[in-house]
């Protein structure tokens, strides 16, 4: 507590000097503004996410959830994928919710599928995509289908190969089992926010640094190379860490590229990026994040490419 007070006083005293430093160094200023942009944009969605996760902690026990899910694992995962459409928001909120829903076996796979599908196929994101690509409904359909297939595939992969011991972060259990619902709710929401938000800081910082460090002209040279374009746009989705409600407009503006690499950008972005991986490391644990992130990246890129070739075609 004393350290915190001392840091705050130090911050207040040095604020003028830091503001001047930011104003004098254009790149530092851009990175700081982008960092604040990612954090402030994510904050309301994260708060919504931890409120939902607190409600889950207070009202939905793991047994009850397991009873709601269909018996057959594949059907349960598919239901969770489609259910993702019910949480309108962007990806930051769905990580804490998925952590609360996560359990042994089928319910674990279903929670991960929900985490991947919720930010990509909810109505707000699909409408934004339709507005960004006027007259190209195939883009909306392809995004929805590819994201859903990616989410379900990852859930099935988890059922087959996932190991619960990779999830090293434990959720706090209430001291006394007779704690009131209100106590359980506030404790869960408080814990999840602190955990997810501190990792969100790491992710937003990574996105801000990469934004300044990666020269923007790189992807202007990729127009003719489809494979290179797909890979680069997939990597861009990871490093830019855009909100899934905004990425369609950015993809629409990259006019020098064909539709297929831009579709890959839209499918990979909400599933895996630097801020999401940081938050998954915070909520689930590092052994989980270093396996789940790359696997999601590969699956999302491949699925988006195949779906894109079928629905929007490879050329312009």
């Amino acid at each position: 507590m004393e350290v915190l007070l001392a840091s705050l006083i130090a911050l207040a005293l040095s604020a003028g000097a830091m503001s001047a430093f930011v104003a004098d160094n254009a790149d530092v200023g851009v990175a700081a503004t982008v960092f604040c942009g990612v954090f402030v944009q994510a904050l309301p969605f994260l708060v919504l996410g931890v409120v939902v996760s607190g409600l889950i902690a207070a009202f939905v026990s793991a047994d009850r959830l397991a009873r709601w899910l269909p018996r057959r694992p594949a059907v349960a995962v598919a239901v969770a994928g489609v259910g993702g459409a019910a949480l309108p928001g962007c990806e930051c909120g769905s990580v804490p919710v998925a952590r609360r829903l996560f359990g042994e076996g089928v319910s674990g796979a279903a929670a991960l599928t929900f985490m991947l599908s919720a930010p990509a196929i909810n109505p707000v994101v699909l409408v934004a995509t339709a507005v960004a690509f006027p007259g190209q409904p195939a883009m909306v359909l392809a995004r929805c289908v590819a994201s859903l297939i990616t989410a379900v595939t990852m859930g099935l992969l988890w059922l087959r190969w996932g190991r619960t011991e990779w999830v090293t972060k434990r959720l706090p259990t209430p001291h006394d089992t007779d704690a009131s619902r209100w106590t359980v709710f506030t404790e869960a929401a408080r814990h999840d926010f602190l955990q997810a938000a501190s990792y969100l800081v790491l992710g937003a910082a990574a996105a801000a640094v990469l934004r300044v460090a990666v020269p923007p002209w790189i992807f202007q040279h990729l127009a003719g190379h489809l494979v290179l374009g797909v890979l680069t746009m997939a990597l861009f989705a990871v490093v830019l860490a855009l909100c899934s409600e905004a990425d369609a407009f950015v993809a629409a503006s990259l006019t020098m590229l064909p539709l297929l690499p831009r579709l890959v950008f839209l499918v990979v972005g909400p599933a895996v990026d630097v801020k999401l991986s940081a938050m998954q490391a915070g909520m689930f644990g590092r052994p989980f994040a270093i396996r789940f992130g790359p696997a999601t990246f590969v699956v999302a890129t491949v699925v988006a490419t195949i779906v894109g070739l079928v629905l929007v075609g490879g050329g312009r």
Binding site: M1, V3, L4, L8, L11, A15, M18, S19, A26, D27, G29, V30, A32, T33, V34, F35, C36, G37, V38, V40, Q41, L43, P44, L46, V47, V51, F133, P134, G135, Q136, T168, R170, L171, P172, T173, T186, A189, R190, F193, L194, Q195, A197, S198, Y199, V201, L202, A208, R211, P216, L240, A241, L242, C243, E245, A246, V250, S253, T255, M256, R316
Partner: protein, 238 residues
């Protein structure tokens, strides 16, 4: 990291959000539509922090449970929350300018032509720069053709031309893009005389035929009048 420190950090994140809303600095980072959500988030965070602080004060055993389950791994990470608190409340980085913004046009490559709503009546109605770029590239009704309009933006100096630009954000500063129009015509010399990043209000006519792939869909405006203005409080266009 004691529970007390965690609760204080939680409270500070909420309070710094309130500060951003009161001082209007959130507009440097996100679009105005996020305002109600930011207020709601601040209220929830402050309520959570106050509830936790009150509960810990009531339970005298708070000292015993300092370790705080779930935080045994890297507890210092919670300190990272000081970074956004410091940046948004004390440092307040400026809104993005032309530097560091992806230099792409807002228009799409084969823009689907559609009918835009007619321009406001009057001698020279005000049109935003991104709207001007979109209309020039994709308006099937040719609403810009021959019409005198007024646009506002900052100057961008290139070796062979002067452009008027505006930073466009969709959600937050991370997706910022630059929309610009090229200046020409009788009054361009006056605009070219100002240094880079001077805010101007410019009157003129845009020729939609200049918005083609070869110019990267940057339309050209024949400028008839240039007025220097102060930098607006909110520099972004949406």
């Amino acid at each position: 990291v004691s529970r007390g420190t965690q609760n204080t950090l939680l409270l500070l994140v909420g309070l710094s959000t309130v500060m951003m809303v009161i001082k209007g600095t959130y507009l440097h980072f996100v679009r105005p539509a996020l305002l109600p959500w930011l207020i709601a988030a601040a209220v929830v965070l402050i309520a959570l922090a106050v509830a936790s602080i009150v509960r810990d004060l009531r339970q005298q055993s708070a000292e015993d449970s300092d370790s705080g389950e779930g935080h045994r791994h890297r507890p210092w990470l919670v300190w990272l929350l000081l970074v956004p608190i410091a940046l948004t409340t004390f440092v307040v980085p400026p809104a993005l300018g032309a530097h560091g913004v992806t230099p792409t046009a807002v228009a799409t490559s084969e823009p689907a032509r559609r009918a835009f709503p007619p321009l406001p009546s009057g001698r020279a109605p005000t049109v935003s720069i991104p709207d001007t770029v979109m209309r020039a590239a994709a308006d099937s009704t040719n609403s810009l053709g021959g019409r005198l309009i007024t646009v506002t933006g900052f100057t961008l100096k290139y070796p062979d031309s002067t452009d008027l630009g505006r930073v466009v954000i969709i959600c937050c500063a991370a997706d910022a893009q630059l929309a610009r129009i090229r200046l020409s015509g009788p009054a361009v010399a006056e605009a070219a005389g100002y240094p880079e990043d001077t805010w101007l209000q410019v009157e003129g006519t845009v020729d939609p035929k200049t918005s083609v792939a070869a110019t990267n869909f940057v339309p050209t405006m024949a400028v008839s009048r240039v007025t220097r203005i102060d930098k607006p409080a909110n520099t972004y266009a949406y």
